[in-house]
C-alpha cells in the first residue's frame, strides 16, 4: 500500500516494514524496529560523519554497502543489516579498528561499558591477524579533570564534533593525520574549556575518561541512582554512581531528563562537594561562646525549648525563617508550614527573593500564571529567540544548550540584549551566535526593552487584535513611550533607533518567539518592571498567548521555582497564591487545622532589619548564608548576633552558621528523597544516592521533629507523605511525567491586565534610567555567576576548584591595558563604601568599562556594594556598583 502522506516513508529493514518520517537515517529507522546497527561515530546529537564505517548495510539496488548513519531512508527501500556480506563487513571494520587498539581492557575504566568491547564480543571471536607493530602515541598530560589515552581512540571524532556542534566550544582538535591522528587541545597545553564532560560521556571507548574517579572502579561494581542536579535551575537528570557509599562519578545518559544527557562542569565534575571533609556531620550547640558537638536530642530540645519560650514571651511575629531554594519541595513546604502553623509567623523567605521572584511576580501579574508558558522544547523549536540579561552559558548551561541547538542546528535567529561581548574564548559565548547583539550595560536593560517597545509601536508591528480590542492599552503604552526620546534611549543604552527597529521587526516577524530573561535582568535594579515590560512587548506583538511563545525567566537555584510554589515567601501561600486570598486560607485551615498568620510578614532584608531592631528574636535559616551574600551595608551579621535564637541547618559551617546558637547538620540532595521543580516548572524526583553523611538529616525531618517537640505533632513518615499533602494543594504536582506540558496563560488575567492592570506603574516603567557616569579610573563592578561555580557547594567541589580555585576580577583587555595590569596582577577596588583586594583575569567577554567578580566568592566584595529594595517585589538589588581600581604590589 503506497504511503498517502508525503512526510513519511515506508521501508523494510531485515524484512520488518517500518514507516518513519522523511529524512530519518537508516540507522534510526532500524532502531525503531529493534535492529541495532553497530556504530562508533554515529550519535543522534551529531551530524553524520560516516567515518568509522562500522554501520555498513546492504541497500537493495545499491552496488556498494552503505553507511546506515548517513543514508536517509527512501520510499520502498529495502535494507539488510545482517546478511553474510554485511556481517563480513562489520567483522572486517572491527578487525581494522582493533588492529592498533592496545587491548588494555583490564585497566580501562570503560571496560564493561565499552562499545568496542561489545561489538568485538558480537563479531570477532577469532584471534587477530594483525601481527605488525601497534601504533603508540606518546602519553601526554591532558587536564587535571580529563584523562586521554589515545592508544584506545577509534578516531570517531565524536568528542571533537560534540565540542563543536553541541557545545560551540571547539576546544578539541584532531591533530596530525592518518593513523597518527590524535585528539589534543592546543599543542602541549592542558585542556581549557567548559569542562562539560561531554567528551568523556560521548567517547564510545576508553580514550577519554574522567580523572576524578580514575582506576577507582569497574562499572559493574557501581550502584546507580537517577536524581536531579542541584547546581542550577535547569534541573538536569543525573545518574550518581557510587561504590560502597562513596561517590564515584556522575553522568547522564542520552535521552535522560530535561537535559537529554548533556551536563555542564558543575553537574559532571562538581559532585564531590557533598563529601568534602568540612561537611558538618553532627549537631553543634553554642556553649560558653563556642559551638560544640551535641546529640540531636540535645540540640532539638534546646531549639524547641528556646522557641517555645520566645513564642510564649513575644508571639509568633518574633520569628523569621529563611530557606534556600536548594531544598526539596517537601522541605520548602514543611518549612513554611512550620513557620506559619507551628511558630505563627509570616516572616518567611527563600533564595528566590534574590531575583527569581521578580520574574514570577511579573508573570503572575500579566499572564496570571507563575510558570513558563513554554518548555525547553519550545526553545529548541523557536524561530526567534530574545535573550535579555542572561549570560546563559555560565548561569544555566543546559538552557544554553537548548539555545545553541535552536540557533546552530535549526537556524533560529538569536537576538541578545546583554552586558556581554562576543568573544572567542575557552568557554562558549552565546553572543557569538547572536544575529543581532545589543551590548547594553546591566543598568540599562530596562531602557533597552523600552527601546524595543517604542520601536514596535512606531513601526506599527502590533497584533491587530490587541490594537482593536484594547485601544486604551495601546494608547497608554504609546503615550508612555512617546514621552521618551530616541536620543535619550540611545544615550542611555548606546544603541540607536535603527537597531531597535531591526530587532523589533525580527521579533514581530517570528512565528515562535521565546524570550529568556536571566540573572542580569532579574537581579538587576529594575528586574521586576523590566520583566513586566517584556511581557507587555509580547502582548503588543500578539505573542504572549501563542503556542511555543513565552517569557521565560531563568531560575538560579535548582528549586527557586519550587520555593515560590511552596509558598516560602512572606506574601505567598502554597500555590502560590496571595497571602490574603480568602479561599486559599480556608483551604489551609481545613488542611492544617489552623489559619496562617495574616499579612505583614517580613521579607529577607526586612527580617534582618527587624532582628536588628529587636522585633524578630529568633530565626531559622536553612541553607542560606545572608552574612556572605548580602552587602555589608545590610549589616546581616549584626542583625543575626542580636537574636536570642539563631538555628542554622547547614552542610557547612558558613559565615552565617558560625553565628548560630544551634547548627544542625543537613543532608545534601544526594542523600535524600523528594522533588525539585526546575526553571521551566517541571517537577522531578530526587533520589538518595548515598546515606546521609555522619549524623546529618534531611531538613524536613528537622521541621517534623520540632513540630512534635513544640506540641503540634505532624505525622509524616517519609517525604512522600509531604508530597501527598502538596498534591492536594497545588496543581502540577501530580504524576512526575517525563515531559511537562507548560500551562497556558490565563486569558482572564491577561484581559484584566490589558484593561486595567497595566496602568498603575506605566509611567514609572517607561522611564529612561540615567546612564552610569563614566569616570576615568573607575569600572562598573558586577557580581556575576561563573560557569564553574554556583555557590557554597561548588566552592567545595574538588573538581571545580581545580578549574577555578580562587576568585578573580575579570576585565576587558582594553581596560587591562588602560590600567596597566595583566593576568594575576593584584588590584585594589574601592569606593566610598569600602574596598577589596583581588587578582585580575583578562576576558574578552567582559564589556569595556565593566569588571566581573564571581558571585560565589562574593563575600569579599560585599563591603563595596549598596543595596536597594524593589518596592513591589521586595527583591534586594546589590549586584553592581562603581569602583575605582589600582594595581597593588
Amino acid at each position: 500500500m503506497p504511503n498517502s502522506t508525503t512526510d513519511t516513508v515506508r521501508l523494510t529493514i531485515d524484512g520488518h516494514t517500518v514507516t518513519v518520517p522523511k529524512g530519518t537515517l537508516v540507522i534510526e529507522a532500524a532502531r525503531r524496529v529493534g535492529v541495532m546497527i553497530p556504530h562508533f561515530c554515529y550519535h543522534p546529537k551529531l551530524k553524520p560523519d560516516a567515518n568509522c564505517r562500522m554501520c555498513l548495510v546492504e541497500v537493495e539496488k545499491m552496488p556498494k554497502l552503505q553507511t546506515a548513519c548517513s543514508t536517509p531512508v527512501a520510499e520502498g527501500m529495502s535494507v539488510r543489516t545482517a546478511s553474510t556480506v554485511v556481517n563480513d563487513a562489520h567483522k572486517s571494520v572491527l578487525e581494522f579498528i582493533l588492529a592498533n587498539h592496545p587491548l588494555d581492557c583490564p585497566v580501562c575504566d570503560q571496560g564493561g561499558r565499552c562499545d568496542l568491547q561489545d561489538f568485538s564480543h558480537q563479531y570477532t571471536a577469532t584471534t587477530s591477524r594483525f601481527v605488525e607493530t601497534k601504533r603508540v602515541f606518546q602519553k601526554e598530560y591532558f587536564s587535571p579533570l580529563i584523562e586521554t589515552q589515545m592508544n584506545r581512540c577509534v578516531q570517531c571524532l565524536r568528542c571533537v564534533r560534540y565540542c563543536d556542534e553541541v557545545m560551540d566550544v571547539k576546544a578539541l582538535a584532531p591533530v596530525g593525520r592518518g593513523t597518527m591522528t590524535e585528539i589534543k587541545h592546543f599543542g602541549p597545553h592542558p585542556l581549557e574549556c567548559e569542562f562539560c564532560g561531554g567528551c568523556v560521556q560521548i567517547c564510545p571507548v576508553g580514550a577519554i575518561t574522567s580523572r576524578l574517579s580514575m582506576y577507582e572502579y569497574r562499572p559493574w561494581m557501581l550502584k546507580r541512582a537517577d536524581t536531579v542536579c542541584g547546581y542550577c535551575g535547569d534541573g538536569c537528570q543525573i545518574t550518581v554512581q557510587t561504590k560502597n557509599e562513596a561517590l564515584v562519578e556522575v553522568n547522564s545518559s542520552l535521552g535522560a531528563g530535561r537535559n537529554n544527557g548533556d551536563l555542564c562542569a558543575r553537574g559532571f565534575f562538581g559532585f564531590r562537594a557533598v563529601t568534602h571533609p568540612e561537611r558538618l556531620t553532627q549537631p553543634l550547640i553554642r556553649r560558653n561562646g563556642s559551638l560544640v558537638p551535641a546529640t540531636w536530642e540535645e540540640a532539638l530540645e534546646y531549639v524547641a525549648g528556646q522557641a517555645a519560650r520566645i513564642k510564649q514571651a513575644h508571639g509568633g511575629q518574633s520569628f523569621g525563617g529563611l530557606i534556600t531554594g536548594r531544598c526539596t519541595n517537601e522541605e520548602l513546604y514543611l518549612f513554611q508550614k512550620f513557620m506559619r502553623a507551628v511558630l505563627g509567623t509570616n516572616s518567611i523567605d527563600s533564595s528566590a527573593r534574590y531575583g527569581h521572584l521578580n520574574g514570577v511576580q511579573a508573570m503572575r501579574r500579566v499572564q496570571g500564571t507563575h510558570r513558563w508558558a513554554a518548555s525547553f522544547e519550545d526553545i529548541v523549536r523557536a524561530d526567534v529567540l530574545l535573550l535579555v540579561g542572561t549570560n546563559v552559558t555560565e548561569t544555566n548551561p543546559i538552557t544554553g544548550l537548548k539555545v545553541k541547538e535552536s540557533v546552530k542546528k535549526r537556524g533560529a535567529k538569536l537576538l541578545t540584549i546583554e552586558a556581554l561581548e562576543p568573544a572567542i574564548e575557552s568557554i562558549s559565548n552565546v553572543a557569538n551566535l547572536s544575529s543581532q547583539h545589543l551590548g547594553v550595560a546591566p543598568s540599562q536593560f530596562r531602557t533597552a526593552v523600552l527601546g524595543l517597545v517604542k520601536a514596535a509601536l512606531e513601526l506599527r508591528l502590533l497584533d491587530p487584535d490587541v490594537v482593536q480590542q484594547h485601544p486604551a492599552f495601546v494608547a497608554g503604552v504609546t503615550g508612555a513611550t512617546e514621552r521618551v526620546s530616541w536620543p535619550a534611549v540611545q544615550a542611555a543604552t548606546g544603541i540607536d533607533r535603527e537597531a531597535y527597529a531591526n530587532a523589533a521587526a525580527a521579533l514581530a516577524g517570528s512565528r515562535r518567539l521565546v524570550v529568556l530573561a536571566g540573572q542580569g535582568l532579574l537581579r538587576g535594579r529594575h528586574g521586576y518592571s523590566a520583566s513586566v515590560t517584556l511581557l507587555e512587548l509580547l502582548l503588543l506583538l500578539g505573542k504572549l498567548d501563542r503556542p511555543g511563545c513565552g517569557f521565560l525567566p531563568l531560575a538560579e537555584e535548582n528549586n527557586d521555582q519550587g520555593a515560590v510554589e511552596m509558598g516560602a515567601a512572606a506574601e505567598l501561600l502554597p500555590g502560590p497564591v496571595d497571602i490574603a486570598d480568602r479561599a486559599a486560607r480556608d483551604r489551609l485551615v481545613k488542611l492544617w487545622g489552623q489559619e496562617p498568620p495574616p499579612n505583614g510578614g517580613a521579607s529577607l532584608v526586612e527580617m534582618l532589619d527587624r532582628a536588628r531592631a529587636g522585633i524578630i528574636k529568633a530565626m531559622f535559616i536553612v541553607g542560606e548564608n545572608p552574612v556572605a551574600s548580602l552587602p555589608a551595608q545590610v549589616r546581616a551579621g549584626e542583625a543575626l548576633r542580636n537574636l536570642d535564637l539563631l538555628v542554622c541547618q547547614e552542610l557547612f559551617l558558613t559565615e552565617t552558621a558560625a553565628l548560630a546558637h544551634v547548627v544542625l547538620p543537613a543532608a545534601s540532595s544526594m542523600e535524600k528523597a523528594g522533588t525539585f521543580t526546575n526553571t521551566e516548572g517541571h517537577v522531578q524526583a530526587v533520589r538518595p544516592a548515598i546515606d546521609p553523611l555522619g549524623d546529618s538529616r534531611p531538613d524536613w525531618e528537622v521541621f517534623a521533629a520540632l513540630s512534635v517537640l513544640l506540641g503540634m505533632p505532624w505525622d509524616y513518615a517519609e517525604s512522600k507523605d509531604v508530597l501527598k499533602e502538596i498534591r492536594s494543594l497545588i496543581p502540577g504536582y501530580g504524576a512526575l511525567g517525563p515531559t511537562p506540558i507548560p500551562p497556558k496563560v490565563d486569558d482572564a488575567a491577561v484581559a484584566r491586565y490589558l484593561s486595567q492592570g497595566y496602568q498603575e506603574d506605566l509611567a514609572v516603567r517607561y522611564m529612561v534610567d540615567d546612564p552610569v557616569a563614566k569616570i576615568d579610573g573607575t569600572l562598573q563592578l558586577s557580581l556575576v555567576q561563573s560557569l564553574f561555580h554556583s555557590g557554597k557547594l561548588s566552592t567545595r567541589a574538588q573538581g571545580l576548584l581545580q578549574v577555578e580555585g580562587a576568585p578573580a576580577l575579570r576585565i576587558n583587555p582594553a581596560d587591562a591595558a588602560r590600567f596597566g595590569v595583566v593576568d594575576h596582577d593584584r588590584v585594589r577596588l574601592s569606593n566610598t563604601r569600602g574596598e577589596m583586594t583581588t587578582s585580575i583575569k583578562i576576558a574578552g567577554r567582559v564589556p569595556e568599562g565593566h569588571a566581573w567578580f564571581p558571585d560565589h566568592f562574593s563575600a569579599a566584595a560585599t563591603p563595596l556594594l549598596d543595596c536597594t529594595i524593589d518596592p513591589v517585589t521586595r527583591v534586594p538589588y546589590f549586584r553592581s556598583t562603581t569602583v575605582s581600581m589600582i594595581k597593588v604590589a
Binding site: 553524520p48 560523519d49 560516516a50 567515518n51 568509522c52 564505517r53 562500522m54 555498513l56 556498494k64 554497502l65 553507511t67 548517513s70 563487513a89 572486517s92 571494520v93 578487525e95 581494522f96 579498528i97 588492529a99 592498533n100 591477524r129 594483525f130 601481527v131 605488525e132 607493530t133 601497534k134 601504533r135 603508540v136 577509534v154 578516531q155 584532531p174 596530525g176 593525520r177 592518518g178 593513523t179 597518527m180 591522528t181
Partner: protein, 434 residues
C-alpha cells in the same frame, strides 16, 4: 615531432612563447571569451561542452557538461568554481606545465566555466609545493585583471568574475574534490560524505563546480572551434579530445605528450617517449597514476581511452603513465606506492586509516624476507575490505598497486616468502618497537 595536432600544448610549443598575456593574445587567446561572454547564453555554453564529450581530466573522467548541469537552476545565492590544481597523483605532472607555460589558457577556461555556471568567484586550489606555478598564475591574473578579462564587467559583458589563487599546503587527499573544498574552507582536508554533492552543497555549502586544470584549459578551444570539432578528435563517442599523458620511469624521453585519446600505449611509449631507456624490455606499466592498477606488456596495444583501459582492468585516471623495465621488483614498486598512500591517508575512515598502516607493515616485512605465505591471503583480504568501504575513492586507489601486482606477479611475492622460510626468519616482529 608530434604526429597529431597539439591543442593544449600548442602555444607553448611555439618558439619564444613565454605565456605572457601578449603572447597568448597573439596566439588567438581570449577570443573565446570575447565571442561567448554576453553573446552565447550560459545554458548554451553548457550544452556545447556537453556535446563536445569533454570529460574530467583529473582522474575520475566525469563528463564536464553533465557536472555543470547538476547545479540547481533556480538557486539565487552565490555559486563557486574551484579549479583543481592540486596535482598530486604520483606519475602526473601535466597541470604544472599548463600553469607554468600557458597560464592564460587556464584562466580563460576558468572565466568561461564561471560564465557557464553563473559563478562570480573562482578559486584556483593549487598544490602548495608548486610555488613557481602559483607565482606565474598570480602574475597572469594581474595581467588578465588589468586587461579586463577578469574582474567586474568582463569585456563590458556585464559578467563579473573574480579569480584567486589559493595554495594548498601538502596533502594529496585535497585533490579529492570535497576534501579540496574543506581545505579551501581552512579546515583539515577530509573528504565529505556524499550526498550531498558539491553541485548543491559545495564551497561554503553553496553550489560549486570543481574542474581540473587540463579540463578547463580545453574550454577556450572547444568554445572557439566547436563541439563537433572536439568530439571528432580521439576515440569518440566516449573519449573525445586529446589528453596530456605524463610519461615517467624507464623510458628514453620521459615527459608530457599530448595525443588524441585512443592511441595505444605502444605508440605512446615507443614512439613518443622514445622507447625503453636501455636494452631491458618493458616489464610493467601504470596507465593512469598511482591509483591505477599495474598493467603488463600484454596490454601494450590497449588504447588510451577511458573505456579501453577500464576493460583491461585498470583506469585512465590522471594520465600518468609510469614505465618499469625488466628487473624492477614489483613487490618493491607496490610497497613504494603503498608507502605513499599510507603517508597520505587522511585518517577519516577506519578501513583506510588502519588498513594502510597494516598493508605497509606487512609489505615491508615481506620485502625484508620476514613474510609468511598466509600474509599474501591477508593482503588480498585487507585490500578487499578497504576497497569500496570508504567515504572517498582513496580506499579503492590505495589497494590498486598491491592487488594488481599480486595478480600479475604473485610469484615475486611467493619467492620472497620462500626465501624467508628458507632463512627461517618467519617470526613476526615483536609487538613493541625494538
Amino acid at each position: 615531432m608530434p604526429r597529431h595536432e597539439l591543442i593544449l600544448l600548442k602555444n607553448m610549443s611555439q618558439p619564444g612563447y613565454t605565456g605572457s598575456l601578449a603572447d597568448y593574445e597573439k596566439a588567438g587567446g581570449y577570443q573565446a571569451l570575447r565571442r561567448i561572454l554576453g553573446h552565447v547564453p550560459p545554458a548554451e555554453v553548457t550544452a556545447i561542452v556537453m556535446k563536445s564529450g569533454l570529460r574530467g581530466r583529473g582522474g575520475a573522467g566525469f563528463p564536464t557538461g553533465v557536472k555543470w548541469g547538476f547545479l540547481p537552476k533556480d538557486y539565487q545565492g552565490p555559486r563557486y568554481l574551484c579549479c583543481n590544481a592540486d596535482e598530486s597523483e604520483p606519475g602526473t605532472f601535466k597541470d604544472r606545465q599548463l600553469m607554468e607555460r600557458d597560464p592564460h589558457q587556464v584562466l580563460e577556461g576558468i572565466v568561461l566555466a564561471c560564465y557557464a555556471i553563473g559563478a562570480e568567484s573562482a578559486y584556483i586550489y593549487i598544490r602548495g609545493e608548486l610555488v613557481l606555478a602559483s607565482k606565474i598564475l598570480e602574475r597572469a591574473l594581474g595581467e588578465a585583471r588589468h586587461a579586463g578579462y577578469i574582474g567586474k564587467n568582463v569585456l563590458g559583458s556585464g559578467v563579473n568574475v573574480e579569480v584567486w589563487v589559493h595554495r594548498g599546503a601538502g596533502a594529496y587527499i585535497c585533490g579529492e574534490e570535497t576534501a579540496l573544498l574543506e581545505s579551501l574552507e581552512g579546515k583539515r582536508g577530509l573528504p565529505r560524505v556524499k550526498p550531498p554533492f558539491p553541485a548543491t552543497h559545495g564551497l561554503y555549502n553553496k553550489p560549486t563546480v570543481v574542474n581540473n586544470v587540463e579540463t578547463l584549459s580545453n574550454l577556450p578551444h572547444i568554445l572557439t572551434r566547436g563541439a563537433e570539432w572536439f568530439a571528432a578528435i580521439g576515440s569518440p563517442p566516449k573519449s573525445t579530445g586529446t589528453r596530456i599523458f605524463c610519461v615517467s620511469g624507464h623510458v628514453k624521453r620521459p615527459g608530457n605528450y599530448e595525443v588524441p585519446m585512443g592511441v595505444t600505449f605502444r605508440e605512446l611509449i615507443y614512439e613518443h617517449a622514445g622507447g625503453m631507456r636501455s636494452d631491458k624490455p618493458l616489464k610493467a606499466f601504470i596507465p593512469g597514476g598511482a591509483s591505477a592498477p599495474f598493467l603488463t606488456p600484454d596490454h601494450l596495444d590497449v588504447k588510451l581511452d577511458f573505456e579501453s583501459v577500464a576493460a583491461a582492468g585498470s583506469m585512465l585516471g590522471s594520465g600518468g603513465v609510469t614505465i618499469m623495465e625488466e628487473g624492477t621488483s614489483m613487490v618493491w614498486a607496490a610497497l613504494r606506492l603503498m608507502e605513499f598512500f599510507y603517508h597520505e591517508s587522511c585518517g577519516k575512515c577506519s578501513p583506510c586509516r588502519e588498513g594502510s598502516s597494516w598493508l605497509v607493515q606487512t609489505m615491508r616485512r615481506i620485502i625484508a624476507k620476514r613474510g609468511r605465505m598466509e600474509d599474501l591471503e591477508t593482503l588480498v583480504d585487507l585490500c578487499k575490505n578497504i576497497a569500496g568501504r570508504t567515504v572517498c575513492a582513496f580506499g579503492d586507489a590505495e589497494v590498486a598497486p598491491i592487488m594488481s601486482t599480486l595478480k600479475h606477479w604473485r610469484h615475486e611475492y611467493v619467492e620472497l616468502v620462500r626465501e624467508a622460510e628458507a632463512a627461517n626468519l618467519i617470526r613476526p616482529e615483536p609487538a613493541v618497537r625494538p
